[in-house]
């Protein structure tokens, strides 16, 4: 089936099998390998992307479900070489150790902040319950999200 996805602001059109998962579309068809496959069971959040602005786990979405919709991956957050405020906050606070969970963490945080759910530490910790960091580096991740969410984490 032909899909047309607004991928990081550009139209991405490909013929795909209906069973192709969005995460495999992103990595193997579109060549955007910033989105990681972790658990592959919608638990760990490493594959989190934005679908029409909302965080989703792309290992549990079919590419055909994204047809005609907007998908943002970690590659699409920066503009003109300038990091998104949430990315900048993760760098500033060193909100990562190995970095595997980071793309998913950043995108989950962008979605959380846009929904107004990143107001305090408890809200951020609960709001990131769908993203696992096996380095247990949560302290700096939470600090980064609180900072990056100032201004709702959305570019003005």
């Amino acid at each position: 089936m032909q899909v047309s996805i607004a991928l990081n602001g550009a139209t991405s059109e490909h013929e795909v099998e209906p069973r192709l998962l969005l995460v495999h579309y992103l990595r193997d068809v579109a060549g955007l390998t910033g989105t990681n496959v972790g658990c592959d069971t919608s638990s760990c959040g490493a594959c989190t992307v934005l679908l029409d602005g909302m965080s989703v786990k792309s290992c549990t979405v079919l590419a055909v479900q994204a047809d005609g919709r907007a998908v943002t991956t970690i590659e699409g957050l920066a503009t003109n070489g300038e990091l998104h405020p949430m990315q900048a906050a993760f760098r500033e606070h060193h909100g990562l150790q190995c970095g595997f969970c980071t793309p998913g963490m950043v995108l989950a945080a962008v979605s959380l902040a846009a929904e107004g759910g990143a107001g305090d530490e408890a809200a951020v910790r609960e709001g990131l319950e769908g993203n696992l960091c096996r380095c247990t580096g949560y302290q700096n991740i939470v600090a980064a999200v609180l900072d990056g969410a100032n201004g709702n984490g959305v570019r003005s």
């Binding site: 089936m1 209906p18 069973r19």
Partner: protein
Amino acid sequence: MITAPFDYVRADSVDHAVQLLGTHGEDAKLLAGGHSLLPLMKLRLATPSVLIDVGRLAELSYVRDGGDHVAIGALTSHHDVATSDMVATDVPLLRRVAGQIGDPQVRHLGTIGGSVVHGDPASDMPAAMLALRATFVTVGPGGQREHSVDGFFTGFLETAIGADEVLTEIRVPKVPMAGWSFQKFQRRAQDWAVVGVACVRNDTVGIGLVNMGSTSLRATAVEDALGSGASIADAAALADEGTEPVDDLNASPEYRRHLAHVLVRRALEEASR
């Protein structure tokens, strides 16, 4: 993990979905948010030959005032249920249950109707529907039907909905002044409940049990005992009556029965404050 191959068709209306179900027969499955179905398909525990995608039917995503009930479109996401002001005011238990399903990403795509028709006894939403005495509206070739929640969950992953019917609306009686509680015992934040209890109490009481048998169950013995004037402690001791909890990696049947007693007591205490 890759699902088995299937054909994919998109429904552009409820009637179209019903027609497609008729065309493709029992091997077809409806795809809403996909957050129960796709994991099963990835494990190849489900191998439908055709997926009929109803996920884009925006007309089935709403929360409306139905007078004595809140009317919720079957494709309303858990996120939208959990953030609805009307749900918060009129059915606060439902807000709590919807707001702790999975995680934010799951709640963005998972739908209330999908949860209901999936009929998983380990799922929280069906037990909440029992506690709240919800009514389900389906549409099929013969027109519209209403189903009481009692009798709707007929077996493991089975409901009274026909193979050619589409769930369109969930009607939840308003209980703005009722006490309520949702008790979920789990090992980790995202886990399914080992046992869960949804409870609403006003002049009557409604109690739904999670993971105490092959279907979501009403704690009928507890409800009846309270109706006859029993104390919370005495009524809660009947929480496992009529249940057949499974033995799995998380708990033995005996432990689940114990949890049911404790959690029903806690739920009734919280709902009676």
